[in-house]
Symmetry: C2
Subunit: 686 residues, 2 copies
């Protein structure tokens, strides 16, 4: 539009949620207007009102902020083609097909991100956030001219020309496997076909990766998070964005080594170790694909795209790369950037043209899973100083805002997962997950996984009869130690106060140290001095890493904290803060975000712009190698204290009655306080 | 350069043969200057004076046309690095390394297209034209920074960054198979590696397709012409452009059907026919790769690019496409555009990253081989009206100049190849290839393949004793029939004059028609009336197609004629014109160009610009389907006459004494001439 449009003839249209707006001549279809503004509206049939993918809703009312009065009277009435679709396929009330509805006055248009056709089985995802879509793979229906001896363009060439004409692709190539199929499919579809087009990077030529006769109106992708312990997969409709099935499995590599480093050792010691582990993880992923396709009734060949996230070692093993270099300094990744490949390169058994995208790794210890968590939580998309922690055997930590992001990894060890804890166990029915200790009597009460009752409530015994009370899981150990601290059983240095044995039979002497008896059953469940030490070491590592990042950012506090991962989902942020896992923060701004890595994977699957976003973000993230930072040790020592030797927790103190300071010698008896040199210096600086 | 450079400090440099010129500051290396002007100069080591690929020569003297006085005094003297290379690797006299030599005054620089390093075995190619190079695959040596924990970029990412920095690639990706190798190769090369980069289309991201530790200074490609009968392959150095080995083999598909249509029938009749034929041709190509690599001592894995040309049916079968549609109207190609693929898609057993390029097809009957011939002969690169014919079972015909090209295919049948001829045979020792007939006595003399002696020369009998005189090959049949016409044995309508039996015992009655006895031996070799008819039908088809194209171009004559293919290589243009295979033309402008299809394939292998050139040219070529042209039949009928019923041959008549017009009835006796309606009309128009 060179001349400014005549406003009366060019109503104003605002698209939500993107907020993009523009004026268009009356009679323009809503779909055309969306495309001109770069608003993504799905469409397979290319405006023939047959695929039903391009649904929109008109927002009625006066939108003062936008100076628009929007009404269903400002859009064309339902025409015969749209009516036919609505009748056959049950268009929901209020929905219109944007390919048929034309602009006749000012409009606020909502583009729903969950348009569903047919009676699709939809499975609720743990994180059912709606993701704005712009997938790398599209379905495009076209009607191709028949062969013409006077213009002897090949079948594929006419198909390409028509796709370019109807769908605006500037440069279009075809996968090799299409060459052998194109004749048959064109004739089977009587010259009407649906092509799957892969167009990830804007600058690359788009590529025809699959072809079906007639209108093909469903395509799927998988989003998969390969953890050291578990693999989680979602099967997602590329057209509606919905998760249609999810499945998880143990990582079969566990048989080669429980933790990451033992798997690296296995590769170093066994000539075929890498190959065996690569095969194992790919086979398990193939089985998960079986699960999600069987559950949803989707054909494997209808899966056209796949996004994977993983920590660096899983990332390398999955891609067939030797992870040995990740076992020692300088922890060199073979590849850190995003990996774009064909699913058949990894023999995943999807559609022959299916693509594969693996998010970038941030550093040798901070993998594509951490990148996915970052993408999901988006510290780089907002102004507040956000801390994102993903706690596992290593904790990955990202801190920052839209101006600057810093990231590190801290070796927390497996204590948070219940390992190295005398009564520790994995989160499973029978495991203690919640604990309260009476400040006066020092008597505990607790809840176990599988029952809603507290241990002092009537019926508890019966409720847990089937499982028993078997141990303490990760969230339980956090709570019991925090409660022990809050009730004065342990000192700020983590020493169990032996003098309390006189007051409570729960305090039990064991050689030179003391334990707290949490449950006097079979088994007896105690928290030993060693258990407290293990948690102190783990949380000190996490906090020291966080502290380094805060120093890099030049901040003393953070505005918001996100706990990602299974561990984060179950712990109570208050107790995490009481123990000093995380810095002081408004408790309402601390939240668990579940499998954020999986969510990040889904975002990259459903919107190629998120791929560019995370690639760009990862390039910019400043990586801190904790082992190389001279102050790490000092922060670590301070963070051994509860919640911290030097850092204050004023916001926490507003919510929680912190105990008076108590300093005990290792034996558990009160002792004159010896301040370390570092501590003295730190205090002097404050 | 914003301000005009100071002429005294910025000498003028002209590069030949490209003719590109520019001014550069003194001290600029010749290589840098070439790059800035877009002049292609090979270099692997990136200016370290170790690969020796960037050789140039200074042209001494005053070049008045260019106003340049060029001298070796205007280039920097040989420095220590260059001297070291020259000593170790024998730099030819006069050659300089352009990465080391700097501009110190006005220069005319010759970029030789055949710089050869080491004592490479060079095999002479049939067509040893020098092809300007700009291959799609380059070798690039780089020194990659070691891993750095503070900037944890992956090995591949640092490699890419260095390649972009040193070699100017804007966008660079890596093949998936590189991921698993990159760590090991970087460490093996102590962070110095050579990458093979595939960059065909300028707009696409360049891709790392192979990687070696240290300096890798050789890379090869194959150029292959898949004919219906024979497959010919060249192994070519991508760095020097030289053909290092050539080999040929029979197309093993012959066992499925001698000619193209019988192979299409085989596919239609046998469910696995297509697969069997695809496998057969690929296996044979793999054997040829064995041959050329064994002969040259080149490793298969050093082959990084492969270019193929073929007629449409061979093209489809090679690529794994069902050719059935090519068996009938509308002769629809599955794909007509150039095919870009990975060599491993066809399991050719080259380097895992090797690429494949197949030239575009012009039409359902005019294949990638015809496109290659066009690329080789370049009618589109010049002003004169050039006719290019490639004669086989079908004749492909291209006519035009830089303004406009038209193309067609004519069903000549196999007569030109010696089939359908009573004494016809393939070109092999013992076959008659040259014939002269005495105008008075009607006695013949001839030469056979394998001997330089004419049959009437002393020693002939002994010379051919080993092979005997076994039949007539394609070029022989052209000559004998042309000589029969020139000596009055056959009329302009192709009837053998039975009345001459009285004058010569060579004219022999056979039922209602007559034959000419060419050789009275064992076997007896005669030219029958049917033989003459077969050649007339074939040449009439060829000429009628040519005539259609001339009409499309609006020309009555052509300026130049190129005969491509094996048949064209052996026939004498004069006789081809006497028979009227081709239109009248200055004989000196008619030439055979040998395996022009193979040359075109080599050009596309050695210079990606030729790929774009032929893609663009093929898009523009106007295709004429002879079967749909109403005037084809009329032209065909006129062209049955020798040389033609209606078209004059004034230029031929200047060189050759054409016989007086003689019209004979079918029985071979002189008869009142009956003119057809078309003939009368045609004559009236002249």
């Amino acid at each position: 539009m060179n001349a400014p449009p005549d406003i009366t003839d060019h109503p104003l249209v605002l698209f939500m949620p993107s907020g993009k707006r523009g004026r268009f001549p009356k009679g323009t279809t809503v779909l055309d207007a969306a495309r001109q503004l770069g608003v993504y509206v799905e469409s397979v049939c290319g405006g023939r009102a047959t695929c039903g993918r391009c649904q929109i809703e008109v927002q009625e009312g006066h939108f003062a902020k936008h100076k628009i009065t929007s009404s269903n009277a400002h859009i064309s009435p339902v025409g015969p083609k749209e009516a036919q679709y609505a009748e056959k396929r049950e268009l929901p009330a209020g929905r219109r097909l944007s390919c048929s509805a034309t602009i006749e006055g000012d409009l606020v248009i909502d583009v729903p991100q969950d348009a569903v056709i047919n009676a699709q089985v939809v499975r609720k995802d743990a994180d059912n956030r709606v993701i704005e879509r712009h997938p790398a793979v599209h379905l495009c229906y076209v009607e191709v001219p028949e062969p013409d001896m006077h213009k002897p363009l090949g079948d594929l060439d006419r198909l390409k020309a028509q796709l370019q004409k109807d769908w605006g692709y500037r440069r279009l190539e075809a996968d090799f496997h299409i060459l052998g199929d194109v004749q048959k499919i064109l004739r089977e579809g009587k010259w009407a076909v649906t092509a799957a087009i892969h167009h990830d990077e804007e600058e690359d030529a788009a590529r025809i990766i699959a072809l079906w006769p007639g209108l093909k109106n469903e395509a799927y992708g998988i989003a998969c998070d390969i953890g050291s312990t578990t693999i989680a997969m979602h099967l997602v409709s590329l057209l509606s964005g919905r998760v249609v099935a999810s499945a998880g499995a143990s990582n079969p590599q566990i048989r080669f080594g429980e933790d990451l480093m033992s798997r690296v050792s296995y590769v170093m010691m066994n000539p075929d170790g890498r190959i065996a582990m690569t095969r194992a993880v790919r086979q398990e992923i193939s089985k998960l694909i079986d699960k999600v396709t069987v559950e949803s009734g989707v054909a494997r060949t209808d899966i056209l795209d796949a996004v994977f996230v993983a920590n660096p070692i899983m990332h390398h093993l999955f891609l067939g790369i030797d992870p040995t270099e990740l076992g020692g300094a300088p922890f060199a990744l073979a590849v850190s950037g995003a990996v774009k490949a064909h699913a058949h390169d990894l023999r995943l058994g999807l559609n022959p043209g299916a693509r594969l995208y693996v998010l970038p790794c941030i550093a040798g210890h901070v993998g594509a899973d951490a990148a996915a968590v970052t993408l999901s939580e988006g510290p780089h998309r907002q102004d507040q100083m956000m801390l994102v922690v993903d706690v596992g055997t290593n904790a990955e930590i990202v801190l920052g805002n839209r101006k600057r992001l810093v990231a590190a990894s801290s070796p927390t060890g497996p204590a948070f997962e219940g390992a190295e804890i005398s009564s520790g166990q994995r989160a499973a029915p029978g495991a203690i997950e919640r604990v309260r200790i009476d400040r006066q009597t020092l008597e505990p009460r607790f809840r176990v996984i599988g029952s809603e009752l507290w241990s002092d409530e009537p019926g508890f015994k019966e409720a847990v009869a089937a499982t028993g009370v078997t141990g303490i899981c990760g969230s339980g150990i956090i709570e019991v130690i925090a409660e022990m601290y809050l009730s004065g059983i342990i000192s700020e240095d983590g020493v169990i106060d032996g003098s309390l044995a006189a007051r409570s039979s729960r305090i039990i002497g064991q050689g030179r140290t003391f334990s707290y008896l949490l449950h006097d059953g079979e088994p007896r469940i105690t928290v030993t001095q060693n258990d407290v030490r293990a948690i102190q070491l783990a949380k000190a590592a996490l906090y020291a890493g966080t502290k380094l990042l805060m120093e890099k950012q030049g901040v003393e506090t953070v505005d918001a904290i996100r706990f990602a991962g299974a561990f984060g989902s179950f712990i109570d942020p208050t107790y995490a803060m009481v123990l000093g896992l995380i810095p002081d923060c408004e408790l309402e701004n601390v939240s668990a975000v579940g499998n954020a890595a999986g969510t990040g994977a889904r975002m990259a699957l459903l919107n190629r712009r998120y791929r560019r976003e995370i690639e760009e973000t990862v390039r910019k993230i400043e990586k801190i190698e904790t082992a190389l930072e001279p102050k790490f040790q000092e922060h670590f020592v301070h963070a051994m204290a509860l919640p911290n030797k030097v850092d204050p927790y004023p916001k926490l103190a507003e919510q929680v009655q912190l105990p008076p300071r108590k300093v005990l010698a290792e034996g558990g008896t009160e002792a004159p306080r010896r301040r370390s040199r570092e501590e003295r210096e730190a205090r002097r600086k404050r």
